[in-house]
Amino acid sequence: MNVAVFTSLLFFTSVLAGLLGALTGLGGGVVIVPVLTLVFGVDIRFAMGASLVSVIATSSGAAVAYVREGLSNIRIGMFLEIATTVGAIFGAYLVARISTHWIAGIFGIVLLYSAFASLSKHKETPEQTPANPLATRLKLVGSYAGPEGETAYCAERVPLGFGLMFGAGTLSGLLGIGSGAVKVLAMDQAMKLPFKVSTTTSNFMIGVTAAASAGIYMARGYVDPGIAMPVMLGVLSGAMAGTHILVKARVSTLKILFALVIAMMGCEMIYNGIAGRI
């Protein structure tokens, strides 16, 4: 195979990953790493480097659309970024300390969780609870246009959410992904924020979190231009196209299909990690 064919294959695969990632809300990074390692036989560290820069591109590129919806909460995002960025540095530090078998195994578990989380039904939690004093002091409050008009919300269980965000940041730095699923878990489940606020604020935080480990990845040589170039351009174009055709179409079938593919790749990653092949 020559460079032109290899680069084109990487590019078109990445377009598909970015497109499916945007349509299903799972993000492109979580698919691109297993595809690069399992299908293209690329070392997992090169795959993680290419994925991490793509994650920054899609997060920053989609920010305009999300901000216009007026759902993301800039204060909650910024506050929690203290935890995710410190976690990301810790995660990037761990990459050089643990074997790639472990990284592949942990990656597999995250894939399985992401597939599960994308399919599980989320219920909005409209029950009004008394305002949390810590959250009020930290201004972790807001309001959004819900189905019954302007709805106010206030974060709960702030320390738990903050702790989970440290974990999300660590996974991001350790695996080269945005770890949006874990960020949404921390805001939606732990801090009881409305689901839509959680998903849009999560997207907003992903770029900053990824930037915290990207410098370390680059200095260690995980970001190889020959791989990162087609992957970043591909995932970005795919994701941009995906947000444009996201017309609340019949994505449910696609979502189930994609979740199954991700779950299978998760098992494959775990198997390869245990077998010592990654």
């Binding site: 460079v3 920054i56 590129g61 305009v64 203290i82 770029g207 990845y217 200095a219 970001v223």
Partner: protein, 125 residues
């Protein structure tokens, strides 16, 4: 001077992010075209991780190479611009919160900025 609303601050920041990503993508694309000027060359061995030559890993090396039109360094320079955009976003937030006189969040944003700069500083050496 009127204090800007959260939404206004957010929109300015988001527009800046799009500029950052667009310019990064253009630089990476140009680097990519130059990189593919020998399309029949063999694919480097990516199956085993090996440390790349130093010029691709440090800020100084990348920019020296990019100035000399080395395709791989131009791609890396575009990626550096990309990594810089979220950092610039945090800087914009510091300014936005300062204009809103929200001292708590000026502090929070500065804390995030310091973590990012520490990481980039320790990474870049």
């Amino acid at each position: 001077m009127r204090k800007p609303t959260d939404q206004e601050v957010d929109l300015t920041v988001a527009a800046m992010l799009r500029w950052g990503v667009t310019s990064a993508a253009v630089v990476v694309f140009v680097g990519g075209l130059l990189y593919l000027r020998h399309p029949w060359a063999g694919v480097p061995d990516y199956s085993h991780f090996h440390v790349e030559n130093d010029s691709l890993r440090s800020i100084a090396g990348i920019f020296t190479g990019a100035v000399h039109f080395d395709p791989r360094n131009i791609i890396q320079a575009g990626l550096m611009v990309l990594i810089a955009t979220p950092v610039a976003r945090v800087v914009f937030c510091v300014v936005g919160f300062a204009r809103q006189r929200d001292l708590l969040y000026v502090g929070v944003s500065i804390a995030v900025l310091l973590v990012l700069l520490y990481s980039l500083g320790s990474g870049a050496r």
